[in-house]
């Protein structure tokens, strides 16, 4: 691999998040470097998705600081994340089931569209030219993910593995610099997982996209990640390259539940 891992682009310092009296995250710090694949793992309820939602601006931590490209980030809303070129997929697929694959992926381009509502509705002026350009971009994504054959199929009719791929497609259509993947391989069979792994690696390699992913499948995580952070009960218990994490006693304990 010739890919170059760059500087820290996202730095989370001493993040704590509470919902009323429930502590979801406690004093967590880690960073994400440019072009790397960063995995967040941990048992159920460890706070992985909360962590992703903090990065994405859905949740706002009570304590801690977040630095994005070196600047401290103030309170942020999800649509601002999108404008900062952070895209994501969801644990339970969040696509428009009645719309075609093409249209779903097209929605990933919305933040890039400049024409106003009237222009779009009447398909005149900027809207026309713009749509053609966006369509081209979307077709590149379709080609990249090898889903040409379902371009016009309503998403609701597709098998689960393909829906996951379409969701990745929508995220990619936004041309993100950082991609957040919430359990991209949950519920997939071995072949679908292999495909998804290949796409994640290709995205990272060809577009240089930084990827933060949550995943349960340890084999997958250890194979494709550059660095892994391990959470348990809202606390960070491990952080490092896969081999380090694999041999970390706390991590082994958390996963095997031994020695309590």
């Amino acid at each position: 691999m010739s890919k170059k891992i760059g500087d820290v682009i996202l730095d989370l310092q001493n993040i704590s998040l509470r919902f009323g009296g429930v502590k979801a995250l406690t004093d967590i710090s880690f960073d994400v470097r440019q072009h790397e694949i960063r995995a967040i793992i941990g048992p159920n309820g460890a706070g992985k998705s909360s962590m992703l939602n903090v990065i994405n601006g859905v949740y706002h931590p009570q304590e801690g600081k977040i630095f994005w490209h070196g600047n401290e980030r103030k309170r942020m809303e999800p649509h601002m994340a999108a404008q900062q070129n952070i895209a994501r997929t969801f644990q339970n697929i969040a696509l428009f089931k009645g719309m075609s694959v093409l249209d779903n992926i097209m929605t990933g381009r919305i933040t890039k569209m400049k024409a106003n509502f009237i222009e779009h509705a009447l398909w005149f002026g900027r809207a026309r030219k713009e749509e053609l350009e966006h369509r081209k971009k979307v077709e590149e994504v379709i080609d990249f993910l090898e889903i040409q054959h379902i371009r016009k199929t309503p998403v609701g009719r597709l098998p689960y593995g393909l829906q996951k791929r379409v969701e990745l497609g929508r995220a990619l259509a936004a041309e993100p610099s950082m991609l957040l993947l919430d359990e991209p391989m949950a519920g997939m069979n071995v072949e679908e997982k292999q495909d998804m792994c290949r796409f994640i690696l290709d995205v990272n390699d060809q577009f240089g996209t930084t990827i933060v992913l949550i995943e349960h499948d340890m084999g997958v995580v250890m194979d494709i990640s550059d660095r892994v952070v391990v959470l348990d009960y809202g606390k960070k218990i491990g952080d490092g390259v896969p081999d380090e994490v694999k041999n970390n006693e706390d991590v082994i304990k958390a996963y095997l539940g031994a020695g309590h």
């Binding site: 691999m1 010739s2 077709e139 379709i142 040409q148 054959h149 016009k152 390699d205």
Partner: protein, 655 residues
């Protein structure tokens, strides 16, 4: 061969590169190739194609590709791969397309046999295969790839992006502007234009060397019979290594000057078909079958009125559609009904199937059921069969318009001579015959007899209208004791087209009459029995029901009535048959894993039944050991009733 020259020397255009540059001159702006890329059909005109071929050929030359070299081509149908074929031919080289889904080790033999130095592949997947075997091939020097995706980290110096090759070629062309024209001028119609490897079900694959003249003759014949013009469109989706694709998508396209269309991917063929609406289409029978099934299933979900309309007009089409297509006389009432049906049903249906513009559709490769064949023809789709081998450029017999018989492969194509050998084997001669098997003079000598006829290995006969009927592989054909020909497969296939019959084994070699074992199709017959309130306990029970025997007898007699019209096979009417008490099964070694009957094994295992058939007994008790899927063994026993079927007197035609 003088016959070849006669066919090929039209206007001096007797090689494919000359044809290509001819089209680029005559119709530079007409579309030559289309490919769907990023959701949009991209078009290359003849001028574009000629320009690229020129660049590619010069690029190959600057890499050291020489006259007589072989160029392996591996990948899905892509415009650039077709262009590479022409590029190799420009330099007097020979393209060797390989089946793209083969694993690396299967490709190894061909790569070694053809002494491949240059290979052009579609994508990373194929590059990986080449890298895997390159040490074993030994001769491999350069790998050119079309799709750069995933190739970023490959930096071996012998790997070339096809665009890089084109760039090299353009520079070469600027520096030696006369080079390519001179190379093309050197090309001769008797040069080998392509090498297609036979699949090699028996022994090692053999490289069939076909000349420019042979393929041009084959293409011209086909274009002439089916009147294919330069305004046509064809969907090129079958493997490039298959002789049919080479004939339709390469040879005919260059001869007639029509457009080839490459689908986006293997999975999008059906929707691409609808978008392109080709004028000429080829598919094996199972594709036509699955298309029909999908139509029928969707029809069942349609509303009452639509269903009624559909069934009414399909009945009209069944009655007179095929005759109208064949230009036979049909009553006014039916004509009006058919016209209405065309407006309401057939036209829209053809549109859904992507066949609105079809002038001719072909099928080959396996026997097609008469019902299926008639369905498409009655809807106004000019579906035809053809017959040919790799060794004959897939060009021996064609079905001329207006003379379509579903059980024949048609009349000898223009320029082709057919002779039936004494053992029933079909022998052919003509301009389309192979030059030789590559480096295999022994095999070449074996396949072509002293009179210059190619021995097809198929047994067949010409009927009274001169249509060829293929009945069997020649080695399976036997003789009845009265000397008449006995072709078991032919009869069995006829019977298997009935939905109630799953498998048939016929006997008759050295016997005085033909008899048969029948396996019923438990799904279809079970369904049939249910509707009639016949209760049954399982296959054995169902197979012994008198009503079922009666049903099968009707099928057999229908076939007998059919056979009597062909003097060659009239003696092969089935006199007696029985329905077996168990299904023939690969687990019991009665079928091969590809579900072909192991004839001799069955004959030996059920000898007692065969004896009973020929001794005139009315029934026979049998007990057979069977293996169940879980490995246990059991016994099936039954007292089988032997049924006599009505046969028909043979009417000898006054000669």
């Amino acid at each position: 061969m003088p016959t070849q020259a006669n066919y090929a020397a039209v206007d001096g255009l007797h090689t494919f590169p000359r044809l290509l540059f001819h089209h680029a001159r005559v119709r530079p702006n007409a579309p030559a190739m289309r490919e769907k890329y990023l959701g949009i059909w991209q078009t290359w005109t003849w001028a574009d194609v000629a320009d690229r071929v020129r660049a590619l050929a010069c690029g190959l030359a600057s890499l050291g590709f020489k006259r007589g070299d072989n160029l392996a081509i591996i990948g899905d149908n892509r415009p650039h791969l077709y262009m590479m074929m022409s590029a190799a031919q420009c330099l007097g080289g020979v393209p060797v397309p390989l089946y793209q889904d083969a694993v690396a080790n299967e490709m190894l033999f061909v790569l070694q046999d053809a002494g491949i130095r240059f290979v052009v592949v579609e994508d990373q997947e194929q590059v990986d295969k080449m890298l895997e075997v390159s040490d074993q091939v030994g001769t491999l020097e350069h790998i050119i790839y079309d799709d750069p995706r995933g190739m970023r980290h490959y930096n071996q110096p012998f790997l070339h992006d096809i665009h890089e090759l084109m760039e090299m070629g353009r520079i070469h062309d600027r520096n030696h502007s006369d080079f390519l024209t001179a190379e093309v001028e050197q090309g001769h119609y008797d040069d080998v234009s392509v090498m297609l490897y036979t699949s090699g079900t028996t022994g090692k694959p053999k490289g069939v060397c076909q000349t420019h003249a042979a393929f041009i003759a084959a293409a011209q014949g086909g274009v002439q019979v089916d009147k294919l013009g330069a305004d046509g469109d064809i969907l090129s989706y079958l493997p490039m290594a298959w002789v049919g694709d080479h004939l339709f998508s390469y040879a005919q396209a260059l001869v007639a000057g029509f457009t080839i269309n490459c689908p986006e991917s293997g999975e999008t063929v059906m929707s691409d078909l609808r978008e392109i609406g080709p004028t000429c289409y080829f598919a094996p029978p199972r594709v036509f079958e699955s298309l029909l099934t999908s139509v029928m299933i969707r029809m069942e979900d349609a509303g009452k009125i639509k269903q009624k309309m559909f069934h009414h007009f399909m009945a009209v089409a069944k009655r007179c559609g095929a005759d109208i297509l064949d230009g036979k006389s049909v009553g006014l009432g039916d004509r009006v009904q058919y016209w209405l049906g065309n407006l309401l049903i057939y036209g829209p249906l053809r549109n859904v199937l992507g066949m609105s513009r079809i002038k001719v559709a072909y099928t080959a490769g396996a026997a097609i059921g008469p019902e299926l064949f008639r369905f498409y023809r009655s809807m106004g789709i000019n579906l035809k069969q053809f017959y040919g081998q790799t060794e004959t450029c897939a060009y021996v017999c064609l079905q001329p318009d207006g003379q379509i018989k579903f059980d024949s492969v048609g009349q000898p194509a223009p320029g082709v001579e057919i002779k039936i050998a004494d053992n029933g084997e079909v022998l052919v001669k003509g301009p389309m015959l192979l030059k030789e098997y590559y480096k295999r003079p022994d095999a070449t000598a074996e396949s072509i007899n002293a009179d210059g006829y190619f021995m097809t290995g198929d047994a067949g006969f010409l009927d009274e209208d001169g249509h060829l009927k293929i009945i069997d592989r020649a080695k399976d054909v036997g003789k009845l004791s009265n000397g008449a020909m006995f072709a078991p497969n032919y009869i069995e296939n006829k019977l298997k087209f009935f939905q109630h019959i799953k498998e048939v084994v016929c006997f008759g070699h050295d016997r005085d009459m033909v008899t048969a074992f029948v396996n019923i199709d438990v799904g279809a017959v079970g369904n049939w029995a249910e509707r009639r309130g016949i209760s049954y306990a399982g296959y054995t029970d169902l197979a012994s029901k008198p009503q079922v025997l009666e049903l099968i007898r009707e099928c057999v007699e229908q076939i007998n009535a059919d056979l009597v019209h062909d003097s060659m096979v009239a003696d092969s009417q089935i006199h007696r048959f029985l329905v077996l008490h168990k299904e023939l099964d690969p687990d019991d070694d009665e079928l091969t894993r590809t579900r072909k009957v192991r004839r001799n094994f069955v004959a030996e295992k059920y000898k007692v039944l065969i004896d009973a058939l020929y001794e005139g007994k009315a029934n026979q008790y049998i007990e057979t050991e069977v293996k169940f899927e879980d490995g246990r063994r059991g016994k099936v026993a039954a007292d089988l009733k032997i049924v006599d079927a009505k046969t028909f007197p043979i009417v000898k035609k006054a000669a």
